[in-house]
């Protein structure tokens, strides 16, 4: 454990009001070590991603060893450790979409934007993500651009939409 029982309460890494939201959540969860995932969710909701300062703070606040915090944060693919782009483009790679050509769509986006799934363009404009079934299999292949689901797409159609962003 990193914190002795009588250590003073951990203080947030930055002087940022948004930490209050995290602190409220931590208090409501009783600062228990098993609230780790819940708290990481909250931090990501508030800041958009999990950086080392945040992980370090969570580690102290919940008395969870830092290596365990990082272990958990990197186990789950929902947690990201870098800020995401202005726009997000999510390509469904579920079974129905895959057999309907999602691979070709992903390749085209890769060629257009020059980034792999999970990455953000260097100008910080677009993040490319993959999903496993959006529940829109009847519209396969499906892509979500900025929270809007589009179905029955071709590589050309996706490229046009991205260029129009």
């Amino acid at each position: 454990m990193t914190v002795a029982a009588d250590a003073p309460p951990a203080s947030p890494p930055r002087d940022d009001k948004r930490w209050r939201q995290v602190d409220v959540r931590i208090r409501r969860l009783g600062a228990r070590p098993d609230a780790l995932i819940e708290v990481l969710h909250t931090v990501q909701e508030v800041f958009g991603y999990l950086d080392d300062d945040a992980l370090s703070y969570v580690s102290e606040a919940l008395s969870v060893p830092p290596s365990r915090v990082l272990g958990v944060a990197t186990f789950y693919s929902h947690f990201v450790r870098k800020p995401q782009g202005e726009h997000t483009c999510v390509v469904c790679m579920g079974t129905a979409c895959y057999i309907n050509g999602a691979g070709a769509i992903l390749n085209r986006i890769h060629d257009t934007l020059g980034i792999d799934a999970g990455a953000t363009t260097s100008d910080g404009r677009i993040s490319l993500l993959r999903a496993r079934c959006l529940g829109a299999c009847s519209m396969a292949p499906a892509v979500v651009i900025d929270d809007e689901v589009h179905g029955r797409l071709s590589p050309d159609a996706v490229q046009h939409m991205l260029e129009a962003l």
């Binding site: 580690s59 830092p66 290596s67 915090v69 990082l70 272990g71 186990f75």
Partner: protein, 235 residues
């Protein structure tokens, strides 16, 4: 606690309720290969080398975590098990970069011993040859990720015995790797007490003591039984 009788490799043996197949086998001098198991640490049943057959059951059972039952008939060596074990060791060798001739643990390595024990003479599968690093920032110890087999013995000894929990595993699948604190260089860790227990329990040359020659390193094995005091914990 009552005594149960069973057979292992055709021999009648006895053990206490709650004891594992591995425990009883070892008490009776019947060898079962293991890697992630270490007496005194909790068991994770992860390496799968210790799998055995139990009569009447189709699936295989990891001996290190399977408790004995009255009348159980256990097979430790069969053609199927031998083939599976050889494969497991082969998978380990192909996963990272194990080049024994330049390893500090050469001839003092459990992975090497296992390869001999299971009769692994050549690899049929391609080497995955990932890029792995060496962290030599700690003043006394180092870790070479090329040799790590992710047995998590170091993680467990550090947490369960030393109480420091410096080590953990990050990522998943073949991307998984060992970390110190928030993935910082070992030398910068402020949870590490430099006790060296992790180095003592590492089955390969992944964790090593700096400046030790191969011959000296070989002496460290007898150090292990001190952990026996903590026998009996599981999971």
């Amino acid at each position: 606690m009552s005594v149960l009788t069973l057979t292992i490799e055709g021999r009648d043996v006895a053990g206490q309720t709650g004891h594992t197949i591995l425990q009883v086998a070892r008490e009776n001098g019947i060898p079962i290969p293991t890697l992630c198991h270490l007496q005194g640490l909790s068991d994770v049943g992860a390496c799968r080398l210790c799998v055995v057959e139990v009569e009447g059951q189709r699936k295989l059972f990891p001996a290190c975590v399977t408790t004995i039952d009255e009348g159980m008939k256990v097979t430790v060596n069969s053609e199927r098990l031998a083939a599976h074990r050889r494969r497991i060791v082969e998978l380990l060798f192909t996963e990272r970069n194990h080049i024994c001739s330049v390893c500090i643990a050469d001839r003092n390595c459990e992975l090497q011993d296992l390869a001999v024990a299971v009769g692994l003479t050549h690899f049929e599968l391609p080497l995955l040859s990932p890029q792995a690093v060496v962290d030599a920032t700690h003043e006394r110890f180092g870790i070479d990720h090329n040799r790590c087999v992710l047995c998590t013995r170091c993680v467990r000894v550090c947490d369960e015995i030393e109480g420091a929990h410096t080590w953990d595993v990050m990522g998943r699948g073949t991307e998984a790797r060992l970390i110190t604190d928030l993935g910082i260089p070992w030398g910068d860790s402020n949870t590490c007490t430099s006790c060296g227990k992790c180095v003592q329990v590492c089955p390969t040359g992944a964790l090593f003591e700096k400046g030790r020659s191969v011959a000296e390193a070989r002496h460290r094995r007898p150090y292990l039984p001190y952990l026996v005091a903590h026998e009996g914990r599981t999971r």
